[in-house]
Amino acid sequence: MQGLAPYVLQRLLWAPVILFAVSVVAFSLGRFAPSDYVELQAGPRASNETIERIREARGLNDPVYQQYGSYVLNFLQGDFGDSIIYRGVPVEDVILPRVWVTVQYNAVVILLTFVIAIPIGIVAALRRGTWLDPMAIGVFLLFASVPVLVTIPILQWLLAVQLGWLPSGGWEVREFYGVEIGLLSKRIILPVLILTLPGVAGLARYMRAQTLEVLDQDYVRTARAKGLQGFTVVSRHVARNALLPIVTILGFELAALIAGSIFLETLLGIPGIGSYAFESVKSRDYDSIMAIVLLGGGAFIGANLLVDITYGFIDPRIRLGGEVR
């Protein structure tokens, strides 16, 4: 375990620095780029005095660093500012229930993606050279390549309108002990299906490549030579080692999901954080946009931090700085 502590420490110290950079960029873009930030808040018929009063009240006449400081302090205390779309409602009250909706179906997507893609990838690698191989590669490549904004309307039309198997969109919740849960509704099937398909294809492709790498290794040949059963070799030696780098894919997967949910929720009418991001960009709701960027960035950085640290635990080469000993 020697050398692990500095590695983890370095990663832990690095995450806040990136978050700081992101917050500065988001803040300066949101506060200073648009000429009509306050006019938007005040409405079209506001007089100059009203606008000046809002400027003063919001601290927009203070020095820049002071504005940034108070924004960050407020943000950390859970005060994200006021929404413009829902006039007067605090952003956090709008955003948090929506985050919960998005988290629910995305959790299902991630789980399904890993459970389905890993065995498929391993089997595809073991069947290399048979007639199944080019077909598998082709199907993976096809589904990983087609953008979600193409698959969403096509699957929606096919499964909901033509075949009538699923509701065409929306979100339905049931209450369990005061928590609104949308997992048990039929409406979750379509979004999960749409996001799982490209995820599975991408991950299975990666898993296949990893497994092929491991199959070439000497220790696999040794295991075979010892006379171990095929299944034991695959499960004990091949799968375990091929799975290691898969952890890192979680980061990419998350970024794809964040982007995917914007399109998905907008087209399917799901009241999650993605559709709200779209709405707030369209109506220039800067406090909301900033909160979404910071929360999304934070979640992404946090997930990658977790991945890095886990990987450091699993693979000793990483924490030794990549040196070959």
Binding site: I18, P147, A255, I258, I262, V281, V293
Partner: protein
């Protein structure tokens, strides 16, 4: 002929070793699928570049007496809700994709990315650390979120800027031609386009830094810039081509996504984002599926080709497979 070659003694053959890029091309030509993918990409980009001459109609030429028409001799792919020729719209959309992805790759990938990678790999030490941490920071944020906020907040500034340029230079019609939205989206894309390229180039330069010819150039008194661009750059060009191919596809995809969200290219200028968005409504899709299927198929074919080509190129270049 083969016999004659074989009979020539090895020491008399003039420079038998072909150049690395020739080897790359020859390996590529052996993969049939990769060639098909390359052809698809080349046709797409040619159509985009030659759009003013190839497209049968203008992208805004509406024929209201002939809306939602099926395929015919005048309109091979039919017409849309305003009677605009679908084939022409697809070709003009290709032009948008070509302009935006091409410009973003040239500035972000080639100019910024390659320079950063060369510098970072060759200089090492503090500069290397700084550049790579910067790359880490860019990598650590979901791109779509920052692109969203940049394009949403900066669009007015960019329009103002272009308007000023118009007044200064006296060139009219820049704003009305939609130049601001092209400028904005290409700028936003190139800010994020350099990271992958810089990393790839850096790792390659790291291994070439200690080679004899760099040492020789340095001892002959060559400047850093000369070593970087005359000695190191030609030797990493293969890697650059592959990285460019991969990021060209990514840039094209992002442009479509941003335009779909309504913050990229503004109508009536055509883009696959606009076309797909317009074709995506359920009632529209039920009555006229071709409005979605045509741009979707073209876009999907392009993305598939980029991924396929990228796969084959990485496969060919990976040292294990040699």
């Amino acid at each position: 002929m083969a016999y004659a070659e074989a009979s020539t003694p090895a020491w008399e053959q003039p420079q038998a070793r072909p150049s690395p890029s020739f080897v790359l091309l020859r390996r590529l030509a052996r993969r049939r699928l990769a060639v098909v993918a390359l052809v698809v990409i080349v046709v797409f980009y040619l159509a985009g570049i030659l759009a003013p001459w190839v497209a049968p109609y203008s992208f805004r030429e509406a024929d209201f007496g002939n809306i939602f028409a099926g395929p015919s001799w005048e309109h091979p792919l039919g017409t849309d809700r305003l009677g605009r020729d679908m084939l022409s719209r697809v070709i003009w959309s290709a032009q948008t994709t070509v302009i935006v992805s091409g410009a973003a790759i040239v500035t972000g990938g080639l100019a910024l990315g390659v320079t950063m990678g060369l510098l970072s790999g060759y200089a090492g030490g503090r500069l290397d650390n700084l550049i790579m941490r910067l790359a880490d920071a860019f990598y650590a944020v979901p791109t779509i979120l920052l692109l969203l906020i940049i394009t949403a907040t900066m669009s007015e500034k960019v329009t103002d800027f272009v308007r000023n340029v118009e007044e200064w230079t006296g060139i009219g019609g820049l704003v009305s031609s939609g130049a601001p939205s092209y400028l904005l989206i290409f700028g936003a894309l190139s800010i994020f386009g350099w990271v992958g390229m810089a990393r790839v180039v850096r790792s390659q330069v790291l291994s070439l830094r200690e080679s004899d010819y760099v040492l020789a150039a340095r001892s002959a008194g060559a400047s850093t810039a000369r070593i970087l661009f005359r000695h190191l750059l030609p030797n990493v060009s293969n890697i650059i081509v592959v990285a460019l191919t991969l990021s060209l596809g990514a840039a094209a995809g992002t442009e479509v996504a941003l335009t779909w969200l309504g913050i990229g290219i503004q109508p009536p200028h055509p883009s696959f984002g606009v076309m797909i968005f317009e074709g995506s409504g359920l009632s529209n899709l039920n009555a006229h599926p071709s409005l979605l299927l045509i741009p979707a198929t073209v876009l999907a074919a392009l993305m598939l080709s980029f991924n396929l080509l990228g796969d084959v190129l990485t496969d060919i270049l990976s040292p294990r497979r040699r």
